[in-house]
């Protein structure tokens, strides 16, 4: 993904780490709703939910990031991400804020340590004078990984 100008990112927390997704692709943020499990679906797919009459799949980001499971808390949110012609929900621990991040603040990553598959990471943004870091995600790729779609 090309980074040329200042963008706004929705910052959310997963297991004390901060992640960001381009605000342009976030349709709406919902509180936790009932989700119907779909048998035989990929492991990171929690199921399907009803978003105003439309059935949309929901991805459990914790499972996808191989983080330990955590039950729904009062902060758990479903971020509805707008894809090309459909929508997908991401279950996240907590939605924190919206931040402006300039391209200069973003550092590319060559290899990311840890268990997270790095193909959906755009880079790492340094915010609040470099005190905190935010991992910026490519949501398209994230969805592809979750559904096991090859590049």
């Amino acid at each position: 993904m090309e980074i040329t100008m200042k963008k706004q990112y929705v910052i959310f927390e997963m297991d004390t780490q901060n992640f960001g997704i381009d605000i342009q692709s976030v349709q709406i943020i919902e509180r936790m709703k009932s989700i119907m499990r779909v048998p035989k679906s990929p492991v990171a797919i929690r199921g399907v939910m009803n978003l105003r009459g439309e059935i949309i799949p929901v991805i459990d980001i914790r499972t996808l990031f191989k983080m330990p499971p955590l039950g729904a808390t009062e902060f758990t949110r479903i971020m509805i991400i707008r894809m090309e012609d459909s929508m997908v929900g991401f279950i996240v621990d907590k939605v924190k804020e919206v931040l402006d991040i300039e391209p200069g603040q973003i550092e590319g990553i060559s290899t990311m340590q840890g268990k997270i598959d790095s193909s959906y990471i755009i880079g790492v943004g340094k915010v609040t004078n470099g005190e905190e870091i935010v991992t910026l995600l490519n949501h398209d790729r994230l969805v592809e990984v979750a559904f096991g779609i090859q590049e």
């Binding site: 709703k33 009932s34 989700i35 119907m36 499990r37 779909v38 048998p39 035989k40 679906s41 797919i45 199921g47 399907v48 939910m49 009803n50 009459g53 439309e54 059935i55 949309i56 799949p57 012609d85 459909s86 997908v88 969805v143 559904f147």
Partner: protein, 699 residues
């Protein structure tokens, strides 16, 4: 110039016009002397020509023009209708349909110009010459040779509408020039150059015609050269100088044009009224292009235009439904009532609720319920289209088939006004064509046989549609030889896939149903119409995917009847809601045979497969909880939902039944397409989602 907004209208109307041409030509065949029918045909053909011309589909226009010439001669009594002539006219119709097909798929009419058809039409016209001397006023027709629009030479042809404008301009003292621009071979952005020329010419006069069409020029669909017909008050030197100043232009020829040979007035009286609207679309082309005399060779404006055109090309036209305005009014009324209820509910404040004025509240909810039900009905009605849209192409098909087979066939249709969901109507055409062809080819005897059997010489095929409860029935009935169960039996033994004992134990009806098995054809000889054995099983599977059924009713020697039963709509079905472990699932009611309470001990194991014996039948049992990866239940009595697919019965174990419910089927979306046992999802009353089990893949 963006034509995409008109394209949809053009396609819809062309289809309608072609259909009515088809019908009227059939009628003309019956009554060759009916002048009213002929007038209608002529009028429709004329409209078609005008529309094709407006949209810049030159080949289509020129073919229609030739057809119109022939029709006009018939109307003037100079030609008589022969069946050969009708054959050619029908072929022309097919060609026109091909053009429309191409336009739907690619937004362009394609390269085929059907010169042989045009030639044949001209031969018909020429045939007239041998009988009668040519009259002066016909010069227009003879002169008009439908040249390919790209083939530009001195004697190039212009559409009548353009000639009309050209003659008018000349009459009012303006100059009409033919400007041929040759772009340099190194020119990369031809459309951009053309655009600059167009905008330079804009302030000076009017481009009344372009070869190739303005759309094609914008799309860069030309080689190095394009030609414009331009009306202006300016001198021809000035034009030449001006265009030569545009970069990358290799040469310009500007020729003054005189009056056109084809005098518009002589062609047809209707023509005079036509030119304005026909010529109109070329005018905005100039008006739209803002005059930018000092435009630097920037690519931006034409590129934007090119993009728009590119989008049109990919945009394969979407499905649409024509809706009666009354139905929309009903919908509108219901929506306004909905707003009233909303206001009512808002009016009931919390105090009212606690002050036990419950009745007010429940009144409103009841009202709301009534409205939603009617709203649902109204929306479903909007999606409904009459089966006529499918039926109306059959008379023509039967005509062709009967000529091919040398049989005399009468097609009697009824109930064309019966309505079905648009999605079903779209899919039902092919199976019906198949059944009709079968009836014509295998059902009906040859004329000779019919006479010897003392049957009326003309075979009759009846096509009936009617609504029966929540389904629509379509029947295809012939008065032919009927189906002989013995012949099917012999064939089955011959094929060897069913043993004689099994066959002997089958009833006649069961044997006839064997016809629906794959690769089963009893036709003695294979024709190109039917009999290759890839027939009825395809018909059946198609109808089943539409949620319908098909049956055969036949009397040997008297005829056979195929009865197709279709659901009114696909989007809403009756389903049985069940609990499996803690989850709710829906099973389509149409699949369910019966529901049984079975004690745990009644389940037996046969070759590691759990089965139950029900009324002397062994039915395999599938535990849905294990298939759906749920916790197994440990109940003493099991509820088994017995489902039937074809001849096969399977019992599904569920935990408890919730009840029958009407559900709206929703797709799971593109990301979850490979989960075969789930047919979709539905939203329950409480907003939760329940999955619909796909019984066909589970059995």
């Amino acid at each position: 110039m963006d034509m995409s907004q008109y394209l949809q209208i053009f396609i819809e109307e062309s289809k309608e016009n072609l259909q009515s041409l088809n019908e009227k030509l059939l009628q003309l065949e019956e009554e060759p002397n009916n002048i009213d029918v002929l007038n209608v045909i002529f009028r429709v053909a004329h409209t078609l020509k005008g529309m094709a011309g407006t949209m810049g589909f030159m080949r289509m226009q020129s073919l229609t023009h030739s057809v119109e010439n022939v029709l006009s001669e018939i109307r003037n009594g100079k030609l008589t209708v022969t069946s050969e002539m009708l054959d050619i006219l029908f072929q022309c119709l097919d060609a026109l349909e091909n053009y429309v097909e191409n336009i739907i798929n690619t937004s362009s009419e394609g390269e085929e110009s059907y010169t042989n058809l045009i030639q044949q039409l001209e031969d018909i016209l020429a045939g007239r010459v041998t009988h009668e001397p040519i009259e002066e006023e016909d010069d227009g027709y003879v002169d008009y040779s439908p040249a390919s629009p790209l083939n530009v030479d001195d004697e190039f042809e212009l559409p009548e509408s353009v000639n009309f404008v050209r003659n008018q301009a000349l009459d009012s003292g303006m100059n009409v020039y033919k400007i041929s621009v040759l772009l340099s071979t190194s020119c990369m952005l031809k459309a951009a150059r053309a655009f600059i020329i167009f905008s330079d010419l804009g302030p000076l006069g009017e481009v009344i015609h372009a070869i190739p069409s303005v759309q094609d020029i914008e799309d860069e669909k030309f080689e190095q050269e394009f030609t414009l017909i331009f009306t202006t008050d300016e001198s021809h030197e000035k034009l030449q100088q001006m265009i030569m100043t545009v970069a990358e232009v290799d040469g310009v020829t500007v020729e003054a044009l005189g009056h056109s040979k084809v005098r518009v007035e002589e062609v047809a009286p209707e023509e005079v009224a036509q030119p304005k609207p026909v010529a109109a679309p070329t005018k905005p082309a100039v008006a739209e292009a803002p005059p930018k005399p000092a435009a630097p060779p920037t690519t931006t404006p034409p590129a934007a235009g090119g993009e728009g055109a590119g989008a049109t090309k990919q945009q394969v036209t979407g499905k649409s439904v024509r809706v009666n305005i009354d139905r929309l009014d009903t919908l509108m009324n219901l929506v306004s009532e909905l707003i009233i209820v909303k206001t009512q509910l808002e009016g009931i404040s919390h105090e009212d609720l606690s002050n036990n004025s419950e009745s007010n509240y429940s009144d409103s909810v009841e009202y709301l319920e009534r409205i939603t039900t009617s709203l649902h009905d109204a929306v479903m009605k909007v999606r409904m289209v009459p089966v006529e849209t499918v039926f109306n192409r059959f008379p023509r098909m039967i005509r062709d088939v009967s000529r091919k087979l040398g049989k005399n066939i009468d097609l009697v249709m009824s109930g064309e006004e019966t309505e079905l969901d648009r999605t079903v109507v779209d899919e039902i055409g092919d199976p019906l064509i198949h059944l009709l062809r079968n009836a014509a080819d295998h059902g009906l005897e040859t004329t000779k046989d019919r006479i010897s059997l003392d049957k009326p010489e003309k075979g009759t095929i009846q096509l009936r549609a009617y609504q029966d409860g929540n389904s629509v029935v379509i029947e295809v009935e012939d008065d032919g030889k009927g189906i002989d169960p013995q012949a099917i039996k012999r064939k089955a033994i011959e094929k060897g896939d069913i043993s004689r004992e099994v066959l002997d134990s089958m009833s006649d009806q069961e044997i006839i149903d064997l016809l629906f098995r794959p690769s089963f054809s009893t036709a003695e000889k294979i024709t190109d119409l039917s009999g290759r054995g890839v027939g009825l099983d395809v018909v059946k599977s198609k109808i089943i995917t539409l949620g319908g059924t098909v049956e055969i009713d036949t009397v040997l020697g008297k005829g056979s009847k195929f009865i197709v039963r279709l659901p009114l709509t696909l989007a809403i079905i009756q389903a049985l809601m069940v609990n499996i472990s803690a989850e709710k699932y829906a099973i389509p009611l149409s699949n369910i045979q019966n529901i049984e309470n079975i004690h745990k001990g009644e389940i037996k194991l046969v070759q590691n497969q759990e089965v139950i014996v029900l009324r002397n039948q062994v039915i395999p049992v599938i535990r849905l909880d294990s298939i759906l990866e749920l916790e197994a239940s440990n109940n003493e009595t099991l509820i088994v939902v017995v489902v039937k697919k074809g001849e096969k019965q399977v019992g599904f174990v569920v935990d408890s039944l919730i009840g029958q419910q009407e559900i709206v089927i929703k797709p799971l979306g593109k990301y979850l397409t490979n989960i075969h046992m789930i047919a979709g999802a539905t939203i329950l009353g409480n907003g939760e989602v329940a999955l619909i089990l796909d019984i066909n893949t589970l059995v």
